[in-house]
């Protein structure tokens, strides 16, 4: 009945000259539909970080729609470009500053499926699909946003445990058609909002494999314009393995001459499976596997709404600033179907993954885990918000309309343990590029000249080489960095001399001051053991904040808990130094990355508490102020073998 009614109204609209009901979309010029090459003038060297989110879900994602989101790719793109939008739950919202690029990464599995289920007539679900579980989900989705959220929690758990009702998976053919339609429509929409020099609308999707609820998800990101991306379709995550995804990616490149890469995310919810010492099936890693992975996955997403994956205090007991965004997430895998044992952590965090990469390289000659790092949101609201004072929730079920969102359990936390306040506000990706086009942004990712932040837009730059000195700051140090060294993401070949680094960190110009810059070094020692060490290399007020007992004193805390404000009366606007590794030893494989810390600022939970008059629990209140941070991609020191 409802279908007939929709068609009727559509016919009526046509008759009175509004429009035809068709899904054909207009073509835009090649400037917009291509990869942007040759369209704008490029800088000689990458001259500023471009800011983006590579992990945003819209109402085409099976779970996002189920959670209630009714904003699509078009709204998502307008919002990311800085336009005012209206959240699904009704309120007007806008980014304080526009983003420079966006990857809409909807789940490839069941693209649009919940939306179609939702829109189907009930008799169809009940009698044709004929599955009680699906029908129950259907009814829950229509009953209320809360019930809809619960239904999707069940659906995700079922998918993770590979027990989706047959009625849901049987529609494979229709699903494939729908996926094609949505993909092609999306590519047209991306082209219309892609504007070389201003905003890069980049094609992508999420490959959502999660055996037994262990998160192995990847965001797949394309360099190319729609002429090439139309020749492929999102690769399904259910019942496929990462190696198959990489083969698909290689196939795409061979067929189209295009470029594609994959970005693993939430290793923290993988129960040790993201960075294993073996291949997925437990057999010893081969050189081919390592090389394929290194080729396909140059970058990982180290921080996002579902927690931070840099490192865990268990793995880094001497790192007093470890443990940001770990609480709640550390207890189990994505669906909480399995608890996480400490023995699993090493395969679940970026720093230990990088270390394992060095070990595997010494065995195989190839480093499978030589990845750079970015942040993103993983927001399921079509709103790419990463700022603490403008958090729009993981999904529509915890947008700002739900004022108690910080204190309630999460949708998949019906088994106790994960609360709203464990969500982070989400991060952003910074890409050092010569200009803002699809190709330039992608290439920055491919050469790992990118870094992660937990939201603030601090500008962080590092060059590694041999023989950099403080006098280099007086000249054109960027040129020198590129010509005599390598930027973040690059590789140095050992010379027997200790490597030195030009390190520059500027605060977010509209944000908080900086506390300190640290170099995180990981290496394989003489006996083959993995080692890590944190060096405080430059910090604010160094004259008065003297190191004591080997530690730099706490920067202080200006946050007023009553009104969620802070002042920049502590910290520094800019920190830079030249640092030479004091513990260098020839013949040891190593990586070096920067961690830049802001002074303490209010988290979204404190803003919520103040704005909505919500009382946070003691635990949540203790976590309501944090030091936001950036992680750069490492520079690797390769040894002569």
């Amino acid at each position: 009945m409802s279908k007939a009614w929709t068609k009727l109204v559509c016919t009526g609209a046509f008759a009175i000259g509004l429009s035809a009901c068709s899904d054909s979309l207009p073509d835009v010029g090649e400037d917009q539909s291509g990869d942007g090459t040759g369209i704008i003038e490029l800088a000689e060297f990458p001259d500023r970080p471009y800011w983006g989110d590579t992990h945003l879900h819209t109402d085409n994602s099976v779970d996002a729609f189920g959670f209630g989101t009714r904003l699509g790719p078009e709204e998502a793109l307008r919002f990311a470009r800085g336009e005012e939008g209206t959240a699904t739950t009704g309120a007007k919202t806008q980014l304080a500053r526009p983003l420079d690029f966006l990857v809409i990464a909807d789940h490839s599995d069941g693209l649009g499926a919940t939306r179609r289920l939702y829109d189907a007539p009930r008799w169809y679900v009940e009698w044709v699909m004929g599955d009680e579980t699906v029908l129950r989900w259907y009814d829950m989705m229509h009953e209320s946003p809360q019930q809809s959220t619960r239904a999707l929690g069940e659906l995700i758990t079922a998918a993770a445990e590979d027990r989706l009702p047959e009625a849901f998976t049987a529609e494979a053919e229709a699903q494939a058609e729908a996926t094609k339609d949505i993909w092609n429509t999306q590519l047209s929409t991306l082209d219309r909002y892609n504007e070389p020099g201003v905003f890069s609308a980049i094609a992508g999707y999420e490959w959502t494999a999660m055996p037994n609820g262990n998160n192995l998800h990847r965001v797949v990101m394309f360099r190319d314009g729609s002429e090439k991306t139309r020749q492929t379709f999102p690769f399904p995550g259910i019942n496929t393995k990462a190696t198959q995804l990489w083969e698909y990616m290689r196939g795409y490149e061979e067929e189209t001459g295009g470029r594609v890469l994959a970005i693993p995310h939430n290793p923290n919810l993988s129960n040790g499976l993201m960075f294993q010492m073996t291949m997925e099936d437990g057999s010893p890693m081969t050189e081919e596997y390592a090389a394929l992975r290194a080729w396909a996955e140059p970058v990982i997403e180290a921080t996002q709404i579902k927690g931070d994956s840099e490192t865990h205090p268990f793995l880094s007991p001497n790192d007093e600033l470890a443990g940001f965004g770990v609480k709640g997430w550390e207890i189990g895998n994505l669906t909480l179907s399995e608890k996480t044992e400490p023995s699993m952590y090493a395969g679940s965090y970026a720093r230990s993954g990088l270390l394992r990469g060095l070990t595997l390289e010494s065995q195989l000659g190839v480093n499978p885990y030589a990845f750079g790092m970015i942040g993103s949101t993983d927001s399921h609201t079509s709103l790419a918000t990463g700022d603490e004072d403008n958090f729009w929730g993981k999904h529509t079920g915890n947008e700002q309309a739900y004022t108690d969102r910080a204190t309630v359990t999460q949708n998949m936390g019906t088994r106790v343990g994960r609360f709203g306040w464990h969500y982070l506000a989400g991060g952003y990706a910074a890409a050092w590029a010569r200009g803002n086009t699809r190709a330039e942004i992608f290439d920055a990712f491919a050469r790992r000249e990118v870094y992660a932040t937990t939201g603030p837009r601090m500008s962080v730059r590092v060059f590694g080489g041999f023989g950099f000195t403080a006098a280099d700051w007086d000249g054109d140090w960027v040129r020198k960095g590129y010509s005599e060294g390598v930027p973040m993401g690059g590789e140095l070949k050992e010379t027997g001399e200790a490597p030195s680094f030009l390190i520059s960190a500027m605060k977010d110009p509209d944000g908080a001051n900086l506390d300190r810059v640290q170099v995180i070094k990981g290496w394989i020692d003489g006996s083959g053991e993995m080692q890590e060490r944190i060096y405080d290399v430059v910090w604010s007020d160094m004259a008065s904040r003297r190191r004591s007992g080997g530690r730099v004193p706490f920067v202080g805390d200006t946050v007023n808990r009553e009104d969620a404000t802070y002042t920049n009366s502590i910290g520094a606007a800019e920190l830079r130094t030249v640092w030479t590794d004091p513990d260098y030893s020839q013949g040891q494989r190593a990586f070096y990355y920067l961690r830049v810390l802001e002074i303490p600022t209010p988290r979204w939970t404190l803003f919520d508490a103040v704005r909505f008059g919500v009382t946070l629990s003691e635990d949540a209140m203790a976590d309501a102020v944090a030091q936001e941070r950036a992680y750069t991609s490492p520079i690797w020191l390769k040894i002569n073998s």
Partner: protein, 266 residues
């Protein structure tokens, strides 16, 4: 009143929609009448059920599947009419919300794929020239040099002495023909606001505050392009479409609302 303007009249829409509904409902045979106790499923009804099945599944139903769908249709029709007889539709908040969103969606569905004609786009541009001019001004290309100081006093002092040497910083010492969007990304909003208040000159001006400190600035050029139809075409089309979708929802509502007398005690 020319052709395009009368087609926008709500009254015309209302009459036309009414006519279409009348034809469609009478043409289709039985208008759904909850009071009737007859449910006939003839060839044309079967065809509709099959079509609906095909739309959802992407292929035609088999005979068995069609029989099942017909049974389902009958069952739903019986229960639907009984529900109406009991007045369940009138008191159910979920039914109400679902119907409302269905109507809203129907109105925007058609607009999502529509393209403006050249004339419509030009008219839209003319009507919004001021807005686009303001955007161009806000994003004007500027050329400037700057030097950074820790305090306002230090910056002012250095400016009066014509000195340029400021703090050592990784900020660019100047930018050439950069859009303000880019200036804002590098120097922040506070600096951009300050820069907007300055007029181009060969003199050092300021100091202008930013998150980094105080800047003395030599703004040598500011060039705001007048809004140009051709170069704005893409933006115009996107904005036009997005406004159309909202406007059509509103217009569809107004068409329907115009058939009601609405009294609100205030």
């Amino acid at each position: 009143m020319n052709l395009t303007s009368w087609t926008r009249e709500p009254l015309v829409h209302f009459v036309a929609l009414g006519a279409v509904l009348y034809v469609a409902l009478t043409w289709g045979g039985n208008p759904p009448d909850p009071a009737s106790r007859v449910i006939s499923v003839g060839a044309s009804e079967k065809e509709k059920i099959a079509e609906s099945w095909t739309l959802t599944m992407g292929r035609s139903p088999t005979d068995a599947e069609l029989d099942q769908a017909v049974d389902a249709f009958v069952r739903e029709e019986v229960l639907y009419r009984e529900a109406l007889r009991l007045g369940l539709d009138e008191s159910d908040a979920i039914v109400r919300r679902r119907l409302v969103s269905k109507m809203d969606l129907s109105a925007s569905l058609a607009a999502e794929t529509v393209e403006p004609t050249e004339d419509a786009l030009r008219a839209y541009f003319e009507a919004n020239t001021e807005r686009y001019a303001a955007l161009e001004t806000a994003n004007a290309e500027v050329s400037f040099e700057q030097a950074l100081f820790k305090t306002k006093a230090a910056a002012s002092a250095m400016m009066s002495r014509g000195a340029q040497a400021g703090e050592a910083t990784s900020l660019p010492a100047g930018l050439t023909s950069s859009p303000m969007r880019d200036v804002e990304a590098r120097f922040g909003q506070q600096f951009a606001e300050g820069l907007r208040t300055l007029e181009p000159s060969d003199d050092w001006q300021g100091p202008v505050p930013s998150g980094f400190g105080w800047h003395v600035v030599r703004l040598t050029a500011r060039n705001a392009q007048p809004p140009d139809f051709q170069s704005l075409r893409g933006v115009l089309t996107n904005d036009w479409r997005s406004e159309q979708i909202a406007a059509r929802k509103e217009r569809a509502y107004n068409v329907l609302a115009s058939a009601y007398r609405i009294d609100i005690d205030r």
